[in-house]
């Protein structure tokens, strides 16, 4: 297979062409409509009966819906900005944004490189939450989280010292490459110490004819199954290619065993363990431990005598150019951002952008992200009425959305949300703590015994939805809404002015949190309930705000983003 070398692009111009070709109407309409609005968060509360505050403009609703797909979280001001300047301008600005702080630098800046931390996880959760909840590059945060959901590494699955730094270096690879080229992402991950540890090819040794030992197959297998091509040959629309009615496996066990030879010889770039520095250096290859015999897997041929570095290049180029990669990667990104069950046509359009950004470049993530978020299927507001389109909001995004909407900060960078894995008292997942490379949930998960299953659909986030996790989420949410988390406190001041009028309060929350997807009927029920809380004291207003937040964020019409 020829190995077309990708090029690294300057960010801006590519995606404009793509956007114009895919969804000109909705984008134009949104930008125009947005010009007349932007005041929904104002202080017009105080009147009663729902007649006080103006309803949000269509542009604001559209902007909120877009941001709920594109951003890790957002505030009313972000809605106003998108409604005013349009999606394209927002995407361009986000793509151009330099990362305010990298994961690694958070740890160093906040003192976690101290030798006392060599065998602890100190700083890890704070680092993750600081980015997700605190960093202004909200598109990168959202895409980074989606990439982490696919290219999974969990801190409890790695060994060695300075684990938060190992994770920081890895997350920086994902976040740095989120707007770059997928091929570079493949390279960065494949040489990262974190992945070397997590999928056990750091220390992998070529076959030993004396002992009979064979190379570790772990990374070779999951690189194909989970990160690049998947198990079956795909059409460009993500559907399986059938032969005689049966799907065609992309690889056999022999391909795994052969592919494993590529990933031999890998080790740390330095033996110095007194500081974390070696954990962000790409792994190096010990030639004596690397298999140099001729290797063939899939249709990828690595001649005898090839160096380990060149073998990696041949292997990754070959995988990158496999026809499965565009639909395989594109569909998962759509699932993470927009809808669990995209139409084949939607997948096909995004996959086309992956395969060629319009300038003959394959794997341009900006083009792919742009295609996902500006596609007619994503932007079609009539989907809000669908009984099938959309996705269950991933729990961590709900948490972050609350924090972003109400300007949660952490003055001393403690970000004290900690490990949120518990299904008894937290949200049943915690970023960077997945229990295995199969993540918290799988893109193909089907909740059995549901209409989702009988309709032939998938619902990935339902894999971590069950009786305890559902109730624990509401409980934890309530605690956060009322108490914050230590020094990380919300600012509800914009709501206080609205709270005397329950309708205005609910309208605001519905717009900012739920893109107005909580139905009028449900809002009416909420209003009745909230009106039972007297609004004639500051405490009463506070209670109304907090109760309203819990009700909206526990409502199925919020939890299912359409």
């Amino acid at each position: 297979m020829p190995t077309e070398q990708h090029e690294v692009l300057a960010p801006a111009p590519v995606e404009r062409e793509t956007a114009a070709s895919l969804a000109p109407l909705s984008l134009a309409a949104l930008a125009v409509a947005g010009c007349s609005s932007g005041s929904g968060g104002g202080s017009s509360g105080g009147s009663t009966g729902g007649g006080g505050a103006p309803p949000p403009s269509p542009a604001e609703v559209q902007a909120s819906r877009f941001l709920s797909q594109a951003a890790i979280g957002y505030s009313h001001a972000d809605i106003t900005s998108v409604a005013t300047s349009g999606i394209d301008a927002w995407l361009t600005a986000q793509f151009a944004m330099v990362r305010p702080q990298r994961f690694w630098d958070f740890l160093v800046t906040n003192g976690y490189a101290d030798p006392a931390n060599i065998n602890t996880q100190n700083g890890f959760d704070a680092m993750v939450w600081s980015q997700l909840m605190g960093s202004s590059d909200v598109l990168r945060q959202r895409v980074g989280l989606a990439l982490l959901d696919q290219w999974v590494v969990g801190i409890d699955g790695i060994t060695g010292s300075w684990k938060p730094f190992t994770m920081a270096a890895y997350l920086d690879v994902l976040w740095d490459n989120a707007f770059g080229n997928y091929r570079d992402l493949m390279e960065g991950v494949s040489t990262s110490v974190a992945m070397g540890l997590f999928l056990t090819f750091l220390g992998n040794v070529k076959a030993n004819p004396v002992t009979g030992s064979i190379p570790d197959e772990n990374y070779a297998r999951e690189l194909m199954q989970l990160f690049t091509i998947g198990l079956y040959e795909l059409n460009t629309d993500g559907s399986q290619i059938l032969s005689g009615g049966a799907p065609i496996p992309t690889y056999a066990q022999a391909d795994v065993s052969q592919g494993a030879r590529v990933w031999t010889g890998y080790t740390y770039a330095s033996t110095d363990n007194t500081t974390p520095d070696r954990l962000r250096l790409p792994m190096v290859i010990n030639a004596a431990r690397h298999e140099t015999g001729a290797t063939t897997f899939l249709n990828i041929n690595i001649p005898a005598g090839t160096t380990g570095e060149n073998a990696r290049k041949i292997a990754l180029d070959g995988l990158f150019n496999h026809p499965n990669v565009p639909p395989f990667v594109s569909k998962q990104l759509i699932q993470h951002l927009v809808t669990s069950n995209p139409s084949p046509a939607y997948v096909s359009r995004v996959a086309a952008a992956f395969a060629d950004n319009g300038r003959a470049v394959r794997g341009d993530m900006q083009a792919v992200i742009h295609a996902v978020l500006t596609d007619v299927e994503a932007r079609d507001d009539s989907q809000v009425a669908s009984t099938q389109f959309g996705k269950l909001r991933e729990p961590v995004t709900r948490l972050v959305q609350w924090g972003r909407a109400f300007k949660v900060t952490s003055p001393t960078n403690l970000w004290p949300f900690g490990n949120t894995t518990s299904t008894a008292s937290r949200i049943g997942e915690s970023p960077g703590r997945a229990p295995s490379v199969f993540n918290w949930f799988r893109p193909g998960y089907v909740p059995p015994g549901t209409a989702i299953e009988s309709n032939g659909h998938v619902a990935p986030e339902f894999q971590i939805t069950n009786e305890p996790s559902l109730i624990a989420y509401v409980n934890y949410l309530h605690t956060l809404i009322v108490n914050g988390a230590g020094e990380a406190q919300p600012d509800y001041s914009a709501l206080t002015a609205l709270a005397a009028d329950s309708q205005s309060l609910l309208d605001e929350l519905n717009l900012v949190l739920a893109a107005n997807q909580v139905s009028a009927a449900t809002v009416a029920r909420m209003k009745t309930a909230l009106d039972s809380i007297a609004a004639d004291t500051a405490a009463g207003l506070n209670n109304r705000i907090r109760a309203a937040l819990v009700l909206v964020m526990a409502a199925p019409e919020y939890l299912v983003l359409r």
């Binding site: 220390g203 199969f438 799988r442 009786e467 939890l559």
Partner: protein
Amino acid sequence: MKTRRTTTITRRALLRQASALSIAGAATPFIMNLAAMGEAAAATASDYKALVCVFLYGGNDYANTLVPYDNNQYAIYQAQRPGLTYAQSALAATKLTPSVPLPGGAQYALAPELAPLLPLFNAGAMGVLLNVGTLVEPTTKAQYQAGSVLLPPKLLSHNDQQSYWQASSPEGAASGWGGRIADLLQSGNGTATLTCINVSGNAVFLTGRSAVQYSVTPAGPIALSTRTSLQGSTAAAALLQSLITGGGAHEFEAALGAVGTRALNLYDQVSAALAQAPATSTVFPAAADPLSTLGAQLQFVAKMISVGSQLGAKRQVFFVSTSRYDTHDGLVTLHPTLLTNLANALRAFYDTTVELGVASQVTTFTGSDFGRALTANNDGTDHGWGSMHFVLGGAVNGGRYHGINPTLANGGPDDIGQGRLIPTLSVDQYAATLASWFGVPASELATVVPNIDNYAGSALGTNIGFV
């Protein structure tokens, strides 16, 4: 120790009646007939029974769990994974002395970390199943190589083989065999939704065609903290519950509503019953694997079993799990810890069932994605297929092996290379045997494990007889 299957006989009579009925009333759903029969059957059953699936996520390494011990097998084991083996001398204390010896003088020892289970084996309360794995039909190596038999799809893939093991179908399966067993028996329980209980999240194993899993934590169900008052408002609290249980028109909202409804509706009943649980003195050792809650999960299962009568339960299927068994490396460092953790939890659980007087009514069995290769990859082993498993309980025909001992080799007659075993005993046979003990009549086994008829007339038949 065997329970006489009076229940089954009654059910067969009912089955005939129901068949006649369903011919007369063609619109009656099949499952409803089964449910009606199950209710009648369980109503006549004076006993309580529980199945407990202990799933080892990641694919357990069979050779360092049930370790080859006789000189011939040990030499192969040693040759295939030098540096990863237990010393033969270190295995003497856990050598198994089965009531029925294996052919050819083959012997095994439990890994030394599994020593807490040896007394159970010796007392006949634990059996060892040889070379169990996912199959569609009996499969020889020649058939495998010739492609002349149907094989489970996506062999050696974690998520898919976990699913195939639990459901006879890869990822995306609609139901699992634990749930399909429950389909037949759940209506005999006072509360049908307390038939399939998962103490470790979600697993397709526990969903049937009509049965659904009920998930709890090792500490029990979770109370909604704002149940009676949300920020001082009873109206808001009531609405919150209505939202949680209400679902919606969207298929995802409906699914959320179903989960929320179970969570809120069952909380009072389950927590009230648990408050009546008798105190037990068996100590569950602290987790040897700090990331595992297996002991706590099993302790909770025992507690649920102990209040089965308060809940009106006759038949319950439990699912617990522990992970980290994907030992591509760390086989000699991590795996022993996992086994210690497993053995401590299984032993304490069995002892608790003895203490509760229900040991012969509870059958516990292990499952895992797949076995692993016999051949080392330097410091670990890679994905395999067939594996060794344990069944425990007072009803178990223990103290012996069940199944066919495979030839341990790299490229031998029973492996596809590197000692990745072609199963000689299918998960379907394993499941059918457990289901039969549980009260599923032979005529209904195919609804539990659709491919079971493929094993009629095979060397081991459709009931292995281990319980």
